[in-house]
Symmetry: C2
Subunit: 432 residues, 2 copies
Amino acid sequence: MDKTFKEESTSVSRREFFKRTASVSAVAAASILAPGTLLADDPNIMHHTKWGTSLGDECNYNPYGLPSKYEHNVVRRTSALMSSAGDMHAAISMTPLHEQQGIITPSGLHFTRTHNGVAHIDPNKFRLMIHGLVEKPIVLTLEQLKRYPSETKILFLECPSNGAAEWKGPQFGSLQFVRGMMSCSEWTGVRLSVILEDLGLKPTAKWMLAEGSDGSEMSRTLPVEKVLDDCMLVYAQNGEALRDEQGYPVRLMAPGWEANLCVKWLKRLEFGDKPWYAKEETSKYTALTASGKAIQHFYALETNSVITSPCPEKPWTDLKVGDLVEIEGLAWSGHGTVRGVDLSFDGGKNWIEASLKGLVLPKAWTRFSYMYKYEGKPLLLQSRSYDDSDNVQPTVNQEKAVVGVEGVYHRNAIHTWAVDAKGEVTNVQIRS
Amino acid sequence: MDKTFKEESTSVSRREFFKRTASVSAVAAASILAPGTLLADDPNIMHHTKWGTSLGDECNYNPYGLPSKYEHNVVRRTSALMSSAGDMHAAISMTPLHEQQGIITPSGLHFTRTHNGVAHIDPNKFRLMIHGLVEKPIVLTLEQLKRYPSETKILFLECPSNGAAEWKGPQFGSLQFVRGMMSCSEWTGVRLSVILEDLGLKPTAKWMLAEGSDGSEMSRTLPVEKVLDDCMLVYAQNGEALRDEQGYPVRLMAPGWEANLCVKWLKRLEFGDKPWYAKEETSKYTALTASGKAIQHFYALETNSVITSPCPEKPWTDLKVGDLVEIEGLAWSGHGTVRGVDLSFDGGKNWIEASLKGLVLPKAWTRFSYMYKYEGKPLLLQSRSYDDSDNVQPTVNQEKAVVGVEGVYHRNAIHTWAVDAKGEVTNVQIRS
């Protein structure tokens, strides 16, 4: 993770950072740790609580554990603006990305998009029909599905309208509301190619319909090439059974593609020689272009990124000039693996490279990081990701030239946080 | 993951497996899918429920989500046998490993070991004192700790007495009770070396005392080499704040070493030139040997493995002769990265190699897998792991020669499940 940064005026290498704070400058050391109280100043500071003087709760007071009561504000949030005519059965709840650490989203905080509510399916009554252009159509129980060898992958899921709210305003002063329609989990299930090798896919099969058993009977069509490449039928998320909100007991997983294609509460897969043009892939989930025509069969989510610290919920108002602070963010690409992320402090005029840190996996969130020396002056903070398929996040103008201004899906233009002289962070949209 | 196995009589490669079931043998195909009902037999089978005919719950009915009500049996479990004189403040609750998928344990199911109960610490009152042989002793708030650059790693945690219950009997007929004192999570925090570079560690500092603020004021000593190598102060687990049971708001993380060293509810770190010999590292957490003497300063958990499917909770009673079934398990090593796992079907006389699957990371759980053709005859199933430091899991006799029969810590001998002719699985201990 050590890294010598390019722009020496406002940044330092991690190694140099601690050299300066620890050995070279007592002032710099105070700046990272202030207002820390040195032990010598107050030897009794550790005795202000009754820690260690009483029994806690019994070991297994909660056989299925929950967050600390002090974390009660870290929850999924929703807004009537993100529902269909105010109906919270067809709505979105968003992940608190400003509190997200690492790349695993706790299942309890995974974003939710429902089209007619959250279904609760009895796993003993679960049946999955696989039929159409296959040699041996079948109806599977959950037990039978789990008899196939399993596969586990860390993958992001993103609603293709993530960020749409900020596109045509109002602009939310909140990372959670601006980008919270995405999460990243460890998913376990069965490769569809493995089941299809068993059932025998007919050569004429070109498309697959996936149908859910929720109130909307969500239906989407996928090309067989994708199905055979890496699609999975997943029954576990982050080590345990799927949550109801994520399609318990089985959902489709199309890695890197629109979350809407990853049909929840799955009940039927049908193979055919034409796409189905279901409701949710004609009136919606197509990409409107500047010409007024919509692009269909537009599935993979583009390379994208967002700065998660600072953000409106995590401002820099406690920093003093000269303080060193870590800028962090998330990058992802439905086309493959994130190769790098650039940062700009001036709205895109100049760029420097951030470090990737932790696991860097295909079609998964990737964390980026940069140690920055705070100057107390206004900034226009941007991040720009690129992936191993040579995709680069476009500017807003580059994006507008392709998809115009009306469409709400697949918008991955570079995002901007404005940081003012006091360290407050607001959501702005730079149109150049 | 494709692999040609060595023992052709009872196993097939994954590729061959599906060739046989799909194309070569209709009987074999039926064997993996039976008793599946083909669509042609009952076209109305999908209409037995009211799926898709009603609204579900509103989108954000649960701002912090929970498992499906149908998963109510997947919980941590405890036993009076695993407590100190029946006091459930000093006890252990175990992870349901038989339901574990992938390598991330849901935080709600992470095993718990408490010595005087679970503490609930107000993060605003949290203070961490770092003192002793450092140039600048300090008391940190949580906010100040989080100002340091973060690091994220997937790491297992294991109680050094995991498996001890089966060593001297009674032998539990349960994977959860036999090996459930371990879990694996994504942890985020700050490297201790980074903070110590800031505070200035004196050359005379050789040991670190870590002290918790729970009712037991848990105290353990670690050598400075380990502290500087990879120890962390972690404040997040699986993407969110630590749970109370895991030491909220901050615990020590010593990757690959005894979980007991990873002191929870941390309040103090002191550096000195001698070990402290605290209560929990003299009377306990030392390794009794055959000579009657105990080994102190015995920290890293050995290379180890266990078969998780089949197991007593997941028997093979539904299989028919000729069925193909996946054997799965977990391997881990506190010394580094798992390099491979061998399987035996005859109690250790003959061995074949399993496949590793998914992420293979240092000091993290690693999954192994093997496709097996069920023969309906009794088996003595064993797994044997080896790591990149050339450690190999010992037999029971090899282990006894070193640590005798009395000690309950650091036992990593090869474990055996007996599978009977009906597919029932019991826990047996092969003493040869």
